[in-house]
């Protein structure tokens, strides 16, 4: 049950001598449904609703996140936020002014044609149960699951300098998973890896026949992996599918370009970055084929929006153009602190956290190679799909990824299936080994609901879209 608030009225209840005041109301409801091994294991709905009161005092922002959304509650929150900011203003990292919170007015509604209520709990459970039955293609499937989580989110931002923004989102996360096991040989296949299938869309996504066909394929591939050879070890070419490219982009480009990391805010937690402020406009991050964009405008991608949580209007921008680093992932505060051009990416995980620099949709733009063109260029290598393991150092240099499903490529053709495909490398040498970028036909839109960062910690949704890509001379290896 969502309370309807007059947030402008609440703003007028604030009575502190601050240089700027903003109220950010966030309501979010999650509706998970999951069938595992033929029985329901999750059905429910949970919501969170509160207001972040933020004030600017002598160059320092202070905040109070409160679920008490009465005029008295907001007035009290503002007083305490003021006190926090006032004490800290003698020790500020940076002295901000009102320009850190630009004034904008506007709205955003994520695209959908069928709302959550159009698909009942019973019907959705039926579809998920049928999907489970299609995943369970053999007795060797020891566990299988199908899940859908619908997310409804509403955001309202008003400020003393005239911002008035309303944004509403309907999203979902969807997954199918089958685990095949034979003794300690166990292989899991999913629908896009690690909840990679997540979009801004409505219930129109749930085409039952397509879901069942995919469930059947996933079950069959899990069985196929059980008897597959282990991925070979050595330096060879890698052709990487969009549902793994998304993690490659996320970890070795997105996080590395967050300007708050470069400025050192994250050094105690997520880490620093190998990228330095002076690298923008100079660093050849990857080969000429590499074009990375911050694109909050791509329809249905998971982290599209019109304004960030500081009120800045969001537009599509190149971060890396023809391999050259041209722009950072820095919101208005980071742009002021660093003097760099940035983007509208000042985002918070909810009403109880302050915004920081985050990824939104960070995409690799399509090239002009067909899928067959990419494969035909490989004499000996591995094609990999769907992330299952990820790790990178605190400077975003040395990464290692594991995938669910691989195919050996020999003399320009995909031959046999291989299991446990892994690869490792170092960010800029890896991206400079980008030899082929797939065309729009190979382009896939994915994302993740689980990007962690910040102190206090915040988990946030990001989108990543990419074509299939070819990298040459990569360190590839298999399982134990």
């Amino acid at each position: 049950m969502k309370l309807d608030l007059d947030i402008k009225q609440l703003l007028s209840a604030v009575d502190v001598p601050a240089d700027w005041v903003g109220l950010r109301e966030v309501y979010e409801a999650h509706t998970p449904r999951m069938i595992r091994d033929g029985v329901p294991v999750a059905n429910g709905r949970a919501s969170t609703h509160g207001i972040m009161v933020e004030v600017l005092v002598d160059g320092q922002f202070g905040y109070f996140g409160t679920p008490n959304m009465t005029p008295k509650g907001i007035a009290n929150a503002a007083k305490k936020a003021y006190q926090q900011a006032n004490i800290a203003s003698r020790h500020s990292t940076f002295q901000f002014d009102e320009t850190a919170r630009p004034s904008h007015q506007g709205t955003y509604q994520s695209p959908f044609t069928k709302n959550r209520e159009s698909l009942s709990a019973g019907k959705l459970n039926e579809t998920l149960l049928e999907a489970y039955n299609h995943l369970k293609v053999s007795d060797k499937i020891v566990s299988a699951s199908s899940l859908c989580q619908v997310i409804e989110s509403s955001f309202r931002f008003v400020s003393s300098n005239g911002s008035d923004i309303t944004q509403d989102f309907l999203m979902f996360e969807f997954d199918l998973s089958a685990t095949a096991a034979d003794g300690t040989n166990q292989q899991t296949r999913t629908f896009g890896g690690m909840r990679g299938t997540c979009r801004q869309m409505g219930m129109e996504y749930f085409d039952k026949y397509e879901i069942l066909a995919n469930a059947n394929r996933i079950g069959e591939q899990a069985i196929e992996l059980l008897d597959a050879d282990d991925c070979p070890t050595g330096e060879m070419d890698a052709v990487i599918a969009p549902d793994q490219m998304m993690l490659q982009i996320h970890e070795s480009v997105g996080h590395a370009l967050e300007v708050d990391r470069i400025l050192g805010d994250e050094r105690n937690y997520a880490g620093w970055s190998f990228v330095k402020l002076e690298d923008f406009g100079k660093l050849q991050y990857g080969s000429k084929l590499m074009n990375i964009t911050f694109d909050p405008t791509l329809e249905s991608e998971f982290a599209s929006y019109a304004y960030d949580d500081g009120g800045l209007k969001a537009t599509k921008e190149h971060l890396i153009k023809d391999g050259l680093l041209v722009r950072g992932l820095g919101g208005q505060e980071s742009q002021i602190r660093s003097g760099l051009n940035g983007v509208a990416n000042f985002r918070a995980s909810g009403w109880n956290r302050a915004p920081i620099d985050r990824m939104a949709n960070i995409n690799l733009e399509p090239g002009d190679s067909s899928f067959d063109d990419l494969i035909s260029q490989v004499e000996y290598g591995v094609y990999m799909e769907s992330n299952k393991s990820w790790s990178i150092d605190d400077y975003r240099n040395k990464f290692q990824f594991g995938c669910e499903y691989g195919k050996l490529i020999e003399n320009g053709q995909m031959t046999k299936t291989v299991r446990n495909p892994n690869y490792r490398g170092i960010s800029t040498p890896f991206w400079n080994s980008l030899k082929g970028v797939g065309n729009a036909d190979t382009f896939g839109i994915y994302g993740t609901p689980n990007c962690g960062k910040g102190e206090p910690n915040q988990v946030i949704r990001v989108g990543h879209a990419s074509p299939t890509c070819l990298f040459e001379n990569i360190q590839i290896f298999g399982g134990v």
């Binding site: 049950m1 595992r36 020891v142 605190d394 594991g402």
Partner: protein, 440 residues
């Protein structure tokens, strides 16, 4: 908070009809967060937050609900009634669950730990002077945390604690770093300043130019904080009974092939220090101690009541996710004073970073060195090392390659704040291992 929880609970239980059950789970905090960078305040604020989780069971179906507790009784009761109405309807629509876990009344508990912590308005002035002249970055979290659970059969648990943590890094001009985590309940300025002084001293070891290590296998010492991170992996596709049954646990070789780890390796779930509540979100209370691995042998997995029903085994009242809530690794015989000598030539790793299973079935974990990590030669610390990636199996480093275990354990408090401030701690010693694999 307790009064709010009690009042809401009593009111919502009156809504329950014959044949229905309701379990309420409460989690809340009144917290201060101050984020520091370059020994100055980057962000500062307060968060009051409380969530009520509802688990409604009827007709052999379980439906969940949840909402933010505003503190306004009328608003909260309206939200609760609305949730019960929705859950009651939904329970008519969804398929039957043969493994429904019904609530019981096995007794109530009440634990409040008050503290003489640092007042919110004094935090900045208490913390910053000790960091004078340092490149200090980190997070201060302070305040009360609340957990509650109640069901319509009359069982009620309440846990309330007050604590602080300053999780931080000190950084040299050459970007070498040491990690500190000063946490507790009662604030003592002298203790804090002494702790920071030790961090400063450790940082001087980082002033030497870092050396590059080649990939290969090394004799390696892991400090307690690093061991704690390895043990944390057991809570993710590891020690869970459900994970084992569903074919996604790294413990499969121990369960199916009777593979054993080193006799020097023992782990228990130990609630006796009271770092976190003994009750889970279902209101079930665990024993004070549960042996998981005894002298290298897998003795128990974590079993929730749902897994118990599904797989026909006994529950040990693990949380639904079957993760360790208060793990303790048993200490050994190696004195900290002898560590560098015992390494001989190899690595001294204070912290590790960004772990993940690289081959879950094989127990292989990848990750990176971070913070104060050194090259040791002939029993002497030579210099810090450049960041290295490792990729090795716990069947090796907690198995045949485990040389020795420290004679003292350290408490590594939970400092994560995803969603809200976490509770709990991992108590463990350092370990010395042979042939630890560095790969990049």
């Amino acid at each position: 908070m307790e009064q709010i929880f009690n009042k809401i609970s009593e009111s919502l239980f009156t809504q329950i009809q014959n044949g229905e059950n309701l379990i309420l789970s409460f989690s809340g905090e009144n917290s201060q967060f101050i984020r520091f960078n370059k020994a100055a305040v980057r962000q500062t604020g307060l968060v009051d937050d409380a969530d009520l989780g509802l688990k409604f069971i009827a007709n052999n179906r379980t439906v969940r609900g949840g909402f933010t507790v505003s503190g306004n009784f009328d608003v909260d009761i309206a939200r609760g009634k609305s949730e019960i109405k929705r859950m009651r309807l939904e329970a008519q629509e969804i398929p039957e669950d043969p493994f429904v876990v019904l609530p019981e009344n096995s007794g109530s508990s009440h634990e409040i730990k008050s503290a003489n912590g640092l007042q919110f308005e004094h935090a900045v002035d208490a913390i910053l002077p000790a960091m004078d002249g340092m490149d200090f970055v980190g997070i201060w979290a302070n305040g009360k945390m609340f957990r509650g659970n109640a069901n319509n059969l009359g069982q009620k648990h309440w846990f309330e604690t007050e604590s602080f943590s300053l999780d931080y890094s000190l950084v040299t001009p050459e970007h070498q770093m040491v990690k500190g985590s000063f946490a507790g309940s009662d604030w003592n300025q002298n203790d804090y300043e002494s702790y920071v002084k030790r961090s400063r001293n450790k940082l001087t070891l980082m002033e030497k130019k870092p050396i590059k290590i080649e990939k290969g296998n090394y004799r390696t010492w892991f400090e307690s904080a690093a061991v704690s991170d390895f043990l944390g992996m057991f809570s993710w596709n590891g020690i869970s009974e459900a994970s084992l049954r569903q074919g996604c646990s790294g413990f499969g070789r121990m369960r199916h092939d009777d593979v054993r780890l080193s006799p020097k390796f023992s782990v228990i779930e130990d609630f006796s220090p009271g770092f976190c509540p003994k009750f889970n979100s279902n209101g079930e209370v665990s024993n004070d101690q549960l042996t998981l691995i005894d002298s290298g042998e897998l003795k128990n997995t974590l079993v929730s009541s749902r897994s118990a029903k599904e797989y026909g085994v006994d529950s040990n009242y693990a949380e639904a996710g079957e993760y360790m809530r208060s793990p303790k690794m048993v200490s050994g015989e190696l004195s900290q004073n002898d560590v560098v000598t015992k390494i001989g030539t190899g690595l001294y790793l204070s912290n590790i970073h960004y772990l993940n299973w690289s081959d879950n079935a094989g127990g292989r974990i990848t990750g990176l060195t971070r913070y104060a990590c050194f090259w040791v030669e002939n029993g002497e610390i030579i210099a810090p090392i450049e960041t290295m990636r490792f990729d090795d199996s716990f069947y090796n480093f907690f198995g045949d390659n485990l040389v020795d275990v420290e004679d003292k354990s350290s408490i590594n408090p939970e400092v994560e704040t995803y969603g809200g401030r976490g509770l709990g701690a991992t108590t463990c010693p350092g370990i010395l291992v042979n042939d630890f694999a560095l790969t990049l």
